[in-house]
Each structure stands twice: as structure tokens, then as C-alpha cells.
Amino acid sequence: MAKLTLSDLKKLREEKIAELNPRNMENKDAQVIVGMGTCGIAAGAKATFDAFVQELDAQGLQNVAVRQTGCMGLCSSEPTVKVVVSGMPEIIYGRVDSETARKIVNQHIIRKLLVNDHIYDRPAADIVH
């Protein structure tokens, strides 16, 4: 590890704040919520989460928050992701790997087109409640 100076430390802090910016809800008009319950994590939700953060960053989208939540009740279809974009229905996507995550960013968030082959129904109310 190279010796850190106080200015290095300040720079590191700013980098970490920038990294955390996608999780901040302020000034955001769209949300990507990744199910990170045990089932989601076991199915690779961490890589999915990272893929969303990287793709949003690559596309320069600062207005999209990426958050995590627990199990959405669709354990057989993990990793699951809920996408909330104003003017569009709230969609739950299932089996979202890194490639699908990038597709969701480019198709759903940027072009406002649903990624049809990954849309899942909400679980039945008696399962959720």
C-alpha cells in the first residue's frame, strides 16, 4: 500500500462519495431496486447490482438511483429487480444477470421500452402478506 497523504485521503473520500451517489434518492427520477435477500444474493444479485451501477455510470445517467431491498417473493426467478421510471408502469424483472441488467438500462431506462422476456408477475398477495 502506497503511503497516503491527507490530500490522498480527501480524494479517496470524494471518490467514495461519488461511488455512493447512485444510492442517494435526492434529485433522482428513476429507481432500480435489486432484491438482495439470501435467495437473490445466492443467485448472483451482487453482480447484477454492480452491473447496474457500472452501466448507469457508463451511460452517464445521474438521475437513476440504485437501491437494494430484501426478497420480493419470487425466489425461483432471482435475481429480481424492480424498475420504477416515471411515466411507465412499475416492472419486476426476473433472472436478471449482468447482461440483462445492461439491457434494462439501455432499453427500459433510456429508450422506455420493456424488456419483455424478463418481466415477472408480482407474487400473489397471500404469499407477500
Binding site: M1, A2, K3, L6, L9, R13
Partner: protein, 181 residues
């Protein structure tokens, strides 16, 4: 005996914080086989009787730690010094503050290991209060100096988990450079 030198340093520095000091300075200097540590503060200080009692492990300042009946920092340090051929000196007076100097003879096999100094120093920096805490660390000719206020300026705050992790990274990198890892 403290498990590590870092634990001893943490105890003595914490005593200084708890003595209502506005300024605390920790100097750690390694020269040859000696590690000299000095903790100076401008806190309440102690009269002769209090100083004597501070060496009693079954005495602690009233109200300092509610429910606790022991005060082990200084007694443990004295025990370590007695057992390992080290030196412990204290200079204190009411209203003037306290200076605790101790020197480890690193050739003695019973001297505790240094421990995780980066973790210790970052924890001490995050200790709540409006005091200034200055760390001056030297190993032979190399070393670093850092103030709590400088770290606060760089990090925006010291108490958050993120700041603690960054401080630890800062101290660890400086310690590694010192010991030539």
C-alpha cells in the same frame, strides 16, 4: 499486562481525553532498540495523592465510568514496565495537565507486540469531543505527523464508519511505509 503496545497507548491517551483536555499529543519514537512513547495533555492534571491512587488497579476516578470499580490503564502499564525493564515517568499537577512517558526495551522478549496501531489511532482520532489530538510517529529518521483537525478537514467528519475505514487505511499505509513493508 496489556496484550499489545497499541492497547497501552490507547488506554493512556483515553485517560488524557477523559481529563477534559483540549489538547493531547502522542509521540511515538523508535530509536534502535527503544520505543519511546509520550502522551501529553493540558487537562485537569493530578495531585500527588490522586497520582498514587491512579496506580492502584482497584481505584478509578469517581463518576468516570459509572459501575466500574477498577482502573487498569496505568497499573497495567506500570506492571509491563516493571516486568520488561522499561521506564515509566509521569509529570502532573492540578490544572497544568499530565505528561506520561514510557519507554519499551524492545530487546526484552516479554515486551508485548506493537499490535494494530492503525486501528488504535483511527479509533482514538474518532473519540468524541472538541479536543485537538496530535500524533507524531517516528521510526529512526522516517515518520509522519497528523492532527485530528487535519483529518476532520480531509474527511468532513471522523465518527462515521466510512471515515473510520479511510482513517485506518491512512494510518496503515503510513505504518507500512515506516516499517518498510
Amino acid at each position: 499486562m496489556h496484550p499489545t503496545i497499541s492497547d497501552a497507548v490507547a488506554d493512556i491517551v483515553q485517560n488524557a481525553f477523559e481529563a477534559a483536555a483540549g489538547w493531547v499529543e502522542l509521540k511515538m519514537v523508535r530509536q534502535g532498540d527503544a520505543l519511546r512513547v509520550q502522551v501529553a495533555d493540558n487537562g485537569r492534571g493530578m495531585d500527588e495523592q490522586t497520582l498514587k491512587r491512579a496506580m492502584d488497579p482497584f481505584w478509578t476516578e469517581e463518576g468516570k465510568h459509572p459501575g466500574r470499580k477498577v482502573g487498569l490503564g496505568l497499573p497495567f502499564l506500570k506492571q509491563t514496565m516493571d516486568q520488561t525493564g522499561g521506564i515509566l515517568e509521569m509529570d502532573t499537577a492540578p490544572g497544568r495537565g499530565t505528561v506520561v512517558k514510557f519507554e519499551f526495551d524492545l530487546t526484552n522478549v516479554d515486551v508485548p507486540p506493537l499490535g494494530d496501531l492503525a486501528e488504535t489511532l483511527s479509533g482514538l482520532m474518532a473519540y468524541p469531543g472538541g479536543h485537538e489530538f496530535v500524533v507524531s510517529r517516528r521510526e529512526e529518521a522516517r515518520g509522519y505527523d497528523v492532527k485530528r483537525s487535519e483529518l476532520r478537514n480531509a474527511l468532513g467528519g471522523l465518527e462515521s464508519a466510512g471515515s473510520l475505514a479511510l482513517m485506518k487505511q491512512f494510518f496503515a499505509s503510513n505504518e507500512e511505509e515506516l516499517v518498510g513493508k
